[in-house]
């Protein structure tokens, strides 16, 4: 179970998160939606300690994350993986080395064993052929697949996906969607997905939370979102440029 309690975070005078509380039970897929700059990425980065809140607490099962030192966060990060928005593979390593790195570092495997294991994981995402290439040589969709393979190497119980389908073509987005669904159905993995891809939101999500002006505007099932009469939420899920919504001026 993941639980955000009253998180507040400001960058300079700009309050990005203003008293955000959210709870995600085990095995659920929570989509966090909202406009660009609404603080979605900022919120999920708190969970693995990449950003520290100004106030509030975060619990990962029984562990209180926000008070942990950088060293003490490492066990948390092994249980809770993160797929970055721009995939963020290591430029200086081949795809195989990228996936093998956490295996070498945390599972105590030798370089050779880690390579074998990493190859198996690349096969699972259909990237075995490209294993010797560098991240710069392949397209965004393929990089995303490798990033997901790398995040799953330590068999995490929780996975954060930061805009996993943004910038992908519809087919690649579709395969990422089904992978997230499968992780939850087959392995009971709890996922938090930051997204504004309307198509995948309604197809994959168990639950949706919309962030607006630093607060949770609406938290409910996809059905709740379809039925809502809130004008701001309606404007967002219908994708209309004009309406009551106020857009942040700074990203």
């Amino acid at each position: 179970m993941i639980s955000f309690q009253n998180i507040v975070k400001a960058f300079g005078p700009h309050k990005v998160l203003d008293d955000v509380s959210l709870t995600v039970p085990k095995g659920q897929i929570l989509f966090i939606i909202g406009t660009s700059g609404a603080g979605k990425s900022v919120l999920v980065k708190h969970l693995v300690g990449l950003i520290r809140p100004d106030a509030g607490r975060i619990y990962l099962d029984d562990v209180e994350v926000t008070s942990l030192s950088e060293m003490a966060l490492y066990p948390v990060r092994k249980r809770c993986a993160m797929v970055f928005q721009h995939s963020t593979l290591f430029d200086s390593m081949t795809l195989l080395e990228n996936v093998a790195l956490p295996l070498r570092k945390h599972k105590g495997l030798s370089t050779k064993q880690a390579g074998v294991d990493a190859m198996r994981r690349l096969e699972q995402v259909g990237m075995a052929e490209e294993s010797g290439q560098f991240p710069a040589d392949i397209g965004d969709g393929l990089r995303k697949r490798v990033a997901i393979a790398r995040a799953l190497t330590l068999d995490p119980e929780y996975v954060i996906f930061d805009e996993p389908t943004t910038g992908l073509d519809p087919m690649a987005a579709e395969s990422v969607d089904s992978l997230i669904r499968e992780l939850s159905d087959r392995f009971q993995v709890t996922s938090i997905v930051v997204s504004h891809d309307l198509r995948s939101i309604f197809k994959v999500a168990d639950r949706i939370a919309m962030l607006y002006q630093g607060k949770v505007l609406l938290d409910g099932s996809p059905a709740d979102f379809r039925a809502t009469t809130d004008p701001v939420v309606r404007q967002f899920i219908e994708g209309r440029p004009e309406g009551p919504m106020v857009f942040p001026r700074k990203s």
Binding site: V48, E70, M71, L73, A81, F84, F90, D91, E97, P102
Partner: protein
């Protein structure tokens, strides 16, 4: 009155500028000290990532040896010309080997090699780490529960210290070779005689002093370049600015530690 007011405000803003830059210097010094502490701690336990360390050594060596060797040869040549101008007047060519050898080994060789190394390897290190910060690769390491200090920074620091030591040891010899060639061509002192002069001058102490300087320069270049790389913000523009700052501060570091090592060496 206007002129007075203007002069007053100009002086006030001048004082404010000096104060502000003094504060920022102190801030940078503090940050560098903290980073040094964290780097030293990351060597305990001394288990560096094998691949990353090998890659660091390889890149540092391959990138810098050519420019270091060429710079060293020119440096030796220049020192012989400068020494030659004194001894030609006094017609005391027997001093050339001693004078040029002393200047090269104790002082100019390590400093110029260090400056070139900073421009090549230090700047490159800042650019590389800076790019990794800007593209979130450092955060990705942390998210994979891999400590960037231990995994990324420690191997680079080790590689820079060891390689600048070795490059100084090698570069000094090439500097003497460059000096020998120049002395034959310009001063009519045969190469063999020049080298004999250097050997007779017994400059072992100076050579060792140069090697100590090389290692200390390597350490200061490493810490400075890692600091500016890890604190990059603001995309491509930020990376450029960080490299600029890194080479400037590393140059100051080289001269200041040069003075410090020179003084300690002579008083010990």
């Amino acid at each position: 009155m206007n002129v007075l007011a203007w002069a007053g405000s100009a002086i006030a803003s001048g004082i404010r500028d000096v104060g502000r830059s003094a504060i920022s210097v102190l801030e940078e010094l503090g940050a560098l000290t903290i980073l040094s502490g964290r780097i030293f701690r990351s060597f305990i336990p001394p288990t560096l990532d094998g691949r990353e360390t090998w890659r660091a050594f390889y890149k540092v060596g391959v990138k810098s040896y050519a420019i270091v060797v060429m710079t060293a040869m020119f440096t030796g040549a220049i020192m012989v010309i400068q020494a030659g101008q004194f001894v030609a007047k006094a017609s005391a060519t027997s001093f050339v080997g001693w004078a040029a050898g002393f200047a090269v080994l104790a002082e100019i060789g390590p400093v110029l090699i260090g400056l070139m190394f900073s421009g090549r390897v230090g700047a490159n290190n800042t650019a590389e780490l800076g790019t990794m910060v800007v593209t979130e690769q450092v955060d990705a390491l942390r998210a994979l529960a891999i400590e960037p200090m231990h995994y990324l920074v420690a191997p680079r620091v080790l590689a820079m210290v060891v390689m600048l030591f070795l490059l100084t040891a090698l570069g000094d010899l090439f500097a003497l070779l460059g000096g020998a060639i120049t002395s034959e061509l310009l001063l009519d002192v045969p190469m063999r005689v020049f080298i004999q002069q250097v050997v007779d001058a017994n400059l072992v102490d100076e050579y060792l002093l140069g090697l100590v300087k090389g290692s200390v320069f390597g350490l200061s270049i490493a810490i400075v370049s890692c600091h500016f790389g890890l604190t990059v913000s603001g995309g491509a523009v930020g990376v450029g600015r960080a490299v600029n700052n890194a080479v400037v501060v590393a140059a100051i570091g080289i001269f200041v530690t040069d003075l410090a090592v020179g003084l300690t060496w002579n008083f010990l």
